[in-house]
Symmetry: C2
Subunit: 654 residues, 2 copies
C-alpha cells in the first residue's frame, strides 16, 4: 500500500447506469463508483465486512483482497467486493440490483431495508410532471387558459385545489398554443406541514409545451462547513445521475462556523459569505449537469440540508446570535422560496426546500440524517453520531429523541495536529505497530507516500500506541521504551511515523503529545456529549440497540480503534453502522418521497435539544473522559480487559 504508484488514468464503465469515470490506477472501486454517482450499497462503510457491495467485473483487471464474503463460485463468475478492489486496467463493471443503494431502497416499498435507512416510504417525489392534451377553445367553451389547464389536470389526473405561480400564468397563453394545446405541467407539494396526505396543496410551478415528462430532474445538496456535496437526481425512476463535491469557498473566510459568523458581522460580510457558498453550489451544479448530460431548464426542485450556520449563511439570515449566549438561530424552519432569488443558477420555476433544524448547533444536516436513516421510524433505541468539527449526537427512537452538540475542535479533520491533513491522497489513515520493536506499519489514502495524518489515521495511531504501551492512558509517552521512534521534539515528546525519505514532504512525520492531547479533548467532548444525553434520559450503554455513524469522516473510521481510545461506546461491534453523508442521504430521500418530506418537519419538531455549553454534568463527564479510554474503566470493559492483557504481555516482553 505504501509503494508509489505511477499516476496512470483508467476508465471505468458502470452498467446498467451507463456512466463512465476516469480515475487513477489503484483507485478504490467503491470510491470510484460513488464519485461517478453510482450508488453501491456498502453498509459497513467499505470495511469489507458486510459483503453488500459486490459487483460483476465484465472486462478488465483489478487488484482485489478476497474475503469470506465472496464464495468460490462467485469469484469464478467475476464477482468482487468493490470496497476491496483497486483499479488496475480500464474496466467494465456491472452493478447488480441487490448491490444498488437506490434501487434497493426504492423498490422495497413498505419493507424494512437492511441497515440504517428510512423505510416504509413510497416513491412519490414532491415534484411531479403531468402531461395533458386539452381541447382548443370554442365559442361554446371559452374558459380562460388557466381554467382550461386546471380543468384538464383535474379530469385526467384528479388534481384539484392547486395554486399557480404568477410566472406560470404569464407564460401560459404561449405555452398552450406552442404545441397545439398539449402541455406538461410541473407540480410541487407546497405545504410544509400537511395533516391529510391526500389533501395536499399542489402548486403548478411550470408549464411546458409538448410532452416533457422524460426530462424530470432535481438537485439535493449537503452544505457542510468544509465541503459541499450535491447530487443530480432523476425523478421518474429515482436515480442518482451524477454526484459532485467541492470545498465550501467560505473556507477562505474562516475554517469553522465561529470564525465564519465573526466574518459575517463585518460590513458586507454576510453577503459575501452568501455569495461564495452559492458560487460553490453553482460550480457543482455545472459539473452535475455536464456529468449527467442534463439541461439546466429540466431541473425542477432543489433540496438543501446543512448545519444551522451554513443554512443561515446560504439563505442570507444573519447568524450573529448563534454564537452569542443563549445561542438562538433566526429560524428552525424556512419558508419555501425561489432558488434563483438566492443566486442559484437554476430556472425561475425552481423552489428551494431547506431542511428544518433543531437548534443553533443541531442543524438541518442532522435532521436530514435522522430522516434518511429512519431513526425516527424504529422502536430500537439508536445513537446517531455525526463527527466533524462539531460532533452532533442524537439519542432516541420513534417515540422520542434528544440531541446535543459538542465542540470537538478540528482534530478529527486534521486541524490542530502538527501533521494533520484532511482525508486526501497521502494522508495516513491506517496504522499498526510491531509490539516487539515499536516500528510502525502505515497505510495512506491512495497508497502513495505519506504527507500527513487524517482523522481516522489519528484514531488508529493513538489506539495502536496505547495498545503497544508507547503511550499511557493519560496520553503521555512511555519514554523508557527501547526505541528511537520516541524522541523529544520542538513540541515535547513525539513518535516518528515516517522518516523524511519515506515521505512526500521530505521531513519526518510525527505525532506529538500535543496532538494526542488535542485528539483526547475532541473524543472526550463527543463521549461526554453521548454520556450526558444517555444519562439525561436514564439509559445506559447496554440499552443501545444501534449506533449510526454519519459524516464523511465516519466511513473510513475503524470502530474497534475508536472504542479503544474512548470515542465510541464499548458495545457489541455489530451494532455500529456507517451511513456516510447522512445529510445528503436525507436530502435525496426527501427528493424522492413526499412522505419523507412530510416527516422532515415533524422530526425536527420532535427532537429536544440539550444545551451542553454550560451544563455541569457535561463538564464533569468531559473531564472524566480526558483519559484513554476513560478514567472509569467500567465504561470500557472490553478495552480495559484487552489493555490489561497487553500490559502483562508487554511486561513479559520488555
Amino acid at each position: 500500500m505504501t509503494k508509489d504508484l505511477v499516476n496512470k488514468k483508467r476508465r471505468v464503465h458502470f452498467s446498467p447506469d451507463n456512466i463512465d469515470i476516469v480515475v487513477d490506477e489503484g483507485a478504490n472501486l467503491l470510491q470510484a463508483a460513488i464519485s461517478a454517482g453510482v450508488r453501491i450499497y456498502a453498509s459497513c462503510g467499505g470495511a469489507g465486512t458486510c459483503g453488500t457491495c459486490k459487483v460483476l467485473i465484465e472486462k478488465g483487471r483489478l487488484e482485489t483482497t478476497r474475503t469470506a464474503k465472496v464464495s468460490d463460485e462467485e469469484f469464478k463468475q467475476g464477482i468482487r467486493q468493490a470496497c476491496q478492489s483497486r483499479v488496475s486496467t480500464d474496466l467494465a463493471v456491472y452493478v447488480p440490483v441487490e448491490s444498488r443503494l437506490e434501487k434497493a431502497v426504492l423498490t422495497r416499498e413498505n419493507r424494512e431495508v437492511p441497515g440504517a435507512l428510512a423505510t416504509g416510504w413510497r416513491f412519490n417525489p414532491p415534484l411531479r410532471k403531468f402531461f395533458v392534451e386539452l381541447p382548443p377553445p370554442t365559442l361554446e367553451d371559452n374558459v380562460s387558459d388557466l381554467s382550461r389547464l386546471l380543468r384538464g389536470l383535474k379530469q385526467r389526473y384528479q388534481l384539484s385545489n392547486m395554486t399557480v405561480d404568477s410566472d406560470v400564468v404569464r407564460k401560459l397563453p404561449q405555452a398552450l398554443r406552442d404545441n397545439d394545446w398539449r402541455v406538461t405541467a410541473t407540480t410541487l407539494v407546497t405545504a410544509a406541514k400537511t395533516r391529510a396526505r391526500d389533501k395536499r396543496r399542489l402548486g403548478v410551478t411550470k408549464v411546458e409545451p409538448g410532452d416533457t415528462r422524460d426530462k424530470h430532474y432535481s438537485l439535493a445538496f449537503d452544505i457542510g462547513t468544509t465541503t459541499v456535496c450535491g447530487q443530480l437526481l432523476e425523478l421518474n425512476r429515482g436515480r442518482v445521475i451524477a454526484e459532485g463535491i467541492a470545498y465550501n469557498q467560505q473556507i477562505g473566510y474562516g475554517a469553522d462556523v465561529i470564525t465564519r459568523i465573526a466574518y459575517s458581522q463585518k460590513p458586507g460580510g454576510l453577503k459575501k459569505l452568501q455569495q461564495v457558498v452559492v458560487a460553490t453550489i453553482n460550480g457543482i451544479i455545472d459539473e452535475l449537469l455536464t456529468q449527467g448530460r442534463v439541461s439546466a431548464e429540466h431541473i425542477g426542485h432543489l433540496i438543501v440540508a446543512g448545519n444551522t450556520t451554513m443554512t443561515q449563511l446560504f439563505l442570507g439570515l444573519d447568524p450573529k446570535y448563534i454564537r452569542l449566549s443563549p445561542y438562538t438561530p433566526v429560524a428552525n424552519f424556512f419558508p419555501p422560496e425561489k432558488a434563483s432569488s438566492l443566486g442559484v443558477k437554476v430556472g425561475q420555476s425552481v423552489y428551494l426546500f431547506t431542511f428544518p433544524s433543531v437548534a443553533s448547533y443541531v442543524g438541518g444536516d442532522i435532521v436530514a440524517g435522522i430522516v434518511g436513516s429512519g431513526v425516527y421510524q424504529r422502536k430500537e433505541l439508536t445513537l446517531y453520531i455525526d463527527i466533524g468539527t462539531n460532533g452532533e449526537i442524537v439519542l432516541g427512537n420513534s417515540d422520542w429523541m434528544v440531541t446535543a452538540s459538542c465542540s470537538a475542535g478540528p482534530a478529527f479533520e486534521g486541524g490542530g495536529v502538527k501533521h494533520g491533513l484532511v482525508a486526501t491522497a497521502g494522508a495516513i489513515e491506517q496504522f499498526d505497530i510491531n509490539p516487539s520493536n515499536f516500528k510502525p506499519v502505515i497505510g495512506t489514502i491512495g497508497g502513495v507516500k505519506p504527507k500527513g495524518i487524517c482523522g481516522s489515521g489519528l484514531i488508529s495511531i493513538i489506539a495502536g500506541l496505547l495498545e503497544a504501551g508507547v503511550i499511557a492512558q493519560n496520553g503521555k509517552f512511555n519514554t523508557g521504551l527501547p526505541t528511537k521512534r520516541i524522541r523529544e521534539g520542538s513540541d515535547g515528546y513525539e513518535y516518528v511515523l515516517a522518516r523524511a525519505p519515506e515521505t512526500q514532504i521530505g521531513k519526518d512525520i510525527v505525532i506529538t503529545e500535543v496532538d494526542i492531547d488535542n485528539l483526547m479533548r475532541a473524543k472526550a467532548a463527543i463521549y461526554a456529549g453521548y454520556q450526558t444525553l444517555t444519562r439525561s434520559v436514564g439509559v445506559t450503554r447496554s440499552d443501545l440497540e444501534q449506533v449510526i455513524i454519519a459524516g464523511a469522516f465516519g466511513s473510513s473510521m475503524d470502530i474497534e480503534k475508536s472504542i479503544t481510545i474512548g470515542l465510541l461506546p464499548d458495545i457489541a461491534r455489530d451494532r455500529f453502522i456507517f451511513i456516510g453523508n447522512g445529510s445528503l442521504l436525507g436530502a435525496r430521500l426527501t427528493s424522492f418521497s413526499t412522505d419523507v418530506l412530510d416527516d422532515a418537519r415533524r422530526v425536527a419538531g420532535m427532537m429536544t435539544n440539550i444545551e451542553l455549553s454550560e451544563n455541569v454534568d457535561f463538564m464533569n463527564s468531559y473531564i472524566a473522559s480526558l483519559f484513554l479510554p476513560h478514567t472509569n474503566a467500567g465504561e470500557f470493559p472490553s478495552v480495559a480487559k484487552r489493555l490489561a492483557g497487553n500490559q502483562s504481555k508487554l511486561r513479559i516482553t520488555v
Copy 2:
C-alpha cells in the same frame, strides 16, 4: 345654474373625519364630501329623493334646495341634504353617523343595510396587526427567533398554522431586538379559496419593532379603461382616509380595450401599457398618502379590480386572445403576488389581491360590483348594469347569475358625439325644453358656462327632445317645427343647445342626428343585452325586484329620462339604485372583510357568461331597440302612454 360664477375658492372642513377640502364656490356639497374622501350615504345618487345624505352645518352658509326630506325642526338645527346644497362660504360640516356610508355599513353587523350593499359580513380585514411582548431568550428557552414569535402569537392570539415570508425571516433578528422583544406582526389571509373560515391559512408578511397597530392601512383600486380610482383605507376602524382619481395614462395608447390590445401586440407594447397604468396608480398613491398624511411603509395590502383587459395589462398578461374569437382570457383568477414586483410603489411586504373575473368581457370590476352590492346574497331578482364604453349586465340572485357584455361604444362617455365631453366642469348634464318655444334650459357640472355634453346630458337632451316632439321615435328631427334651434349643419340636422356667446368654447354647442344615432346604438346594445339575458332565463321586466346601476356615469344619470329613451327597462322607479363605482366599492369592502374576500372567488365562479357577439337573439333585440324607446311599445308602457299624451298636447299647441 347657468350663470357664470366667479371662480372663488372655499374651504370645507368635515368632522368627525377632520378632513379639509378646497372647492370652487357653488360646488355641490355631496360632491365635495366624496372628493375629500368623506363617504356620505346617498342611495338615490344625489337626486334629493332619499334623504340619506343629511349633514349638520356647524359654520358658514350654503345655498340649498329644501325638500320634504328635511323637517322644520331639522332645518332649524342646521341640517341640510348635502346633495341639494352648494357651497357659498367656508364651511364646517358635521357628518352624522347615520349619513356615513362606511360607518353605516361597518357597524350594522349581520343586519340588512338599506340600499344595495353587501350585508351580513363581519368587519374582519384580511390584513391584521398583532402586537406581542415576547420573553427574551435564555439558555433554558433558546428556541429560534421565528419560533419565539410564532409561539407568542399563538399564546396571545391563538394564531396557528401560519406561513412566514422569507423576507420577514431575514429581518426578524433585528426587528425583535430593536424594541426589546416587543413587536407587531402583520398577517394576511393567503388562501384564495377557503372552506372552513376558522381554519384559514395566515401568512406573516411583516414584523415591525414596537407597537405599530395604529398604523394600519391598505389601498383599494378600480382600474378603469378611462379612469383609475383609488382609496386609502384605515383598517382599524374601516374608514376611507383619502380618495384619488386620475385618467388611466394608457389613454395615450388607445381609447378603448380593443385599441389597447392592438397596441400591446407591438414590440414592447405590453410592457409599456403595464408601465403606464402602474405609473397612474403610483401617482394616485402619492396623492392618497399626502392627503391622508400616511407614510408608504404603513400600507400593508393592495386590492385591485378592473375589467379583464385592464387586469391583464396591469399584471403583464398578454391580452391578445381577448379580442380574437373565441375570446379567451389568460386567467379568471390570479395568484397573489408582491405588488412591488409589478412596479407599484409600496413596500416589499405588500401583497396584491386581484379580483377574479368571469370572461374576457366580464371582468373583476363586475365581480367586485356584485360582491360589493350584495346581489349574490339576496333572494330578490336583481339586474345589475355597469354602463361605460362596454355595458356589462348581470341578472340573478343568491342562487344563480347570468352575465353578458355588450359593446355600447363611447357615446355614454362623450365619445363619437360632436360636442361630447367626459363628465367634467362645463359639461351639460341637465336639459329641459320649453315645449311652447322649444328653447332649452341647460345645467352644467360646476354651474359654469357650457363647453360640451356628457353622457347623462345626452340622455336628458334626447329624452327632452323626444318628449317635446323635436325628434321622432326614430331619432330624426321634426324639421317642420317653428324654431330656429333646429337647423341643418355640417353633419345634417342639429339642435342648438347653446349659442356661441353663452359657451366657453365660443361656438354653438349642438346635438346632431349623427350624435343621436350613436346614442341610440349605444342604448340599444345595452337594452338588447338586458333583454337577451332575461329571455335566456325566462323572466320578464315585471319580475325584476331591483335594478342596480353602477359606473361613474351612473350616479349623475336621470332614471326617468333613461327609461324614456329606452336605455333602462320601464319598471317602478323605486326599484332603481345607484351605487356609483361598484368596482371600487367591492375592492373596499373586500379590504374590510375576509368574509367578502372569500365570497369574491365564489361569486366569480357562480356567474355564467352568455356570449353575445355571435348571438342571434341579441342581434334581433338590438335591431328592435334602435328606436325611441323601442319598436315594441309594449316594452315601455309608461313611456308610450306619456309620449302619446305629449303628442296630443303638442298637436293642440302647434
